[in-house]
Symmetry: C2
Subunit: 277 residues, 2 copies
């Protein structure tokens, strides 16, 4: 693991790191904020999965999470959103919603993507190993959150691994990718046309198929341009109601899909996580 940069911030260290990933077969870059802590302490870990077009850098620069993480004693990990580099195939037309920057947190089964696009394995298996080894992390206390495509990732990973994550939340998530254009394109491209294979990567379908967590927290901007076409949080509301999952869904007047929205509600989400870690 190579250290790209470290900067002192809010009395802790914001680092950016790169390593050769076995999962993706590429170099991968991620960021970790380690708050101030006592020598030898092991701290809980909050995973943050980013949305379409993002790298680790967007939330690292604009997320306004460090002040709360410093106060609450939380390590904050931000992976990239796809493999990148020489030989990594992209969307054939270079679209922003597939390929580079749009890994959708799945292990692709379709050529030519199956070689490198293994973000599920990367985020759930390989990177946790690195975090546990190289940072003062208590891996028995983890939680996960994300934005948009990363909210989809946080919900599907949290629902699949309920014993690992003590809290699961999202900002403006894609809750039912199988039902909306972004998700239909990505899941077909990475997993093929058989929609049965999509259900493990669709939060609403996972809940319909029996996945359970005690509670979920979702914040959503009411002025989000993608609300009706791509996000459709009412589908999660309905699935959680039917399954008896306690969903706290905050619909916030005037807020859009940007980091100006995320940063506004980051502190309250982190406090909700900390109370469960």
């Amino acid at each position: 693991m190579e250290t790209i940069s470290t900067n002192r911030s809010h009395d802790g260290i914001q680092g950016v790191y790169r390593h050769a990933s076995a999962a993706t077969g590429t170099d991968m870059t991620f960021s970790v904020y380690v708050p101030p802590h006592a020598e030898g302490a092991r701290l809980p870990v909050v995973w943050y999965l980013s949305g379409l077009t993002c790298t680790h850098a967007n939330v690292t620069e604009k997320g306004e999470f460090r002040s709360a993480c410093a106060e609450l004693g939380l390590i904050f990990v931000a992976p990239d959103t796809s493999p990148r580099g020489e030989g990594v195939p992209d969307d054939p037309e270079g679209a922003y919603d597939f390929g580079l920057g749009a890994g959708f947190y799945v292990d692709a089964t379709q050529e030519p993507f199956s070689r490198h696009y293994r973000m599920w394995s990367y985020v759930t298996d390989e990177l946790p190993g690195i975090i546990g080894e190289s940072f003062p992390a208590d891996m028995t206390r983890q939680s996960i959150m994300g934005h948009s495509m990363g909210g989809h990732g946080a919900l599907t990973i949290g629902l699949t691994l309920p014993d690992r994550f003590r809290a699961v939340s999202a900002f403006s998530p894609i809750v039912a990718p199988g039902a909306v254009p972004w998700g239909q394109k990505a899941l077909a491209g990475y997993l093929g046309e058989d929609k049965a294979a999509w259900r493990r990567h669709d939060a609403v379908a996972l809940i319909e198929d029996g996945a359970r967590v005690p509670e979920l927290l979702v914040d959503q901007g009411a002025a989000d341009q993608f609300l009706d076409g791509q996000l459709q949080p009412h589908r999660l509301r309905d699935a959680c109601d039917a399954a008896g999952i306690g969903l706290t869904l905050g619909l916030h007047e005037g807020y859009d899909h940007s980091y100006y929205f995320i940063s506004t509600f980051m502190e309250t989400q982190l406090r909700w996580h900390a109370a469960r870690l």
Copy 2:
């Protein structure tokens, strides 16, 4: 004035605006955060002047000021750092420390810069008029802060207009540009070789020449790579001591010159301003 973008954030509105500036003879872009407020209320204004290479966008995205401004009821204005566009001369070699992104908050007297590089007039005269007209601002309650070159701007403007600004502070400012390479290059290039003309744009020289404010607040990273070569806060310490100006100079172990440092101390600086507004 053209609105480029508005985003709801921390219950207020973060806007970015563009207008044709008479001072610079170019279009100029700036950002304004207006916190939540009662209908008809007029709010105090904090000016933030940015450093070399920056536009309004750096602090707007990375400054972490909105949460505190929302709580404290402060309008936050971030101008650009130079004129830009067709016909605006740059550093002959394209260096980052002169010309575009490096206006140094002076009105240039030297060709070819004197036509457009009029950032002093822009920031102290033209833009305040726009803020007072177009935003719910109480222009009888203003304060000013800045970073690096913008810290120089905040100190020199605050010392020159002590009746306008109720609080003056800086992050890692260039306190004595006439004595360090960045400032010597800029002041010679914009104002000419006669160093007498530089003293009105040098915080330490202004204090030596009689400028007075009751107090100043400066935060400085002890691990700042520019500390010894360009910033030299001890010069401000000495000048303030000799002049009886109450300087609070915080030297912070481990912190560098970046927005990771600025964002860490933004809230405490804003609270210091709010208490004086």
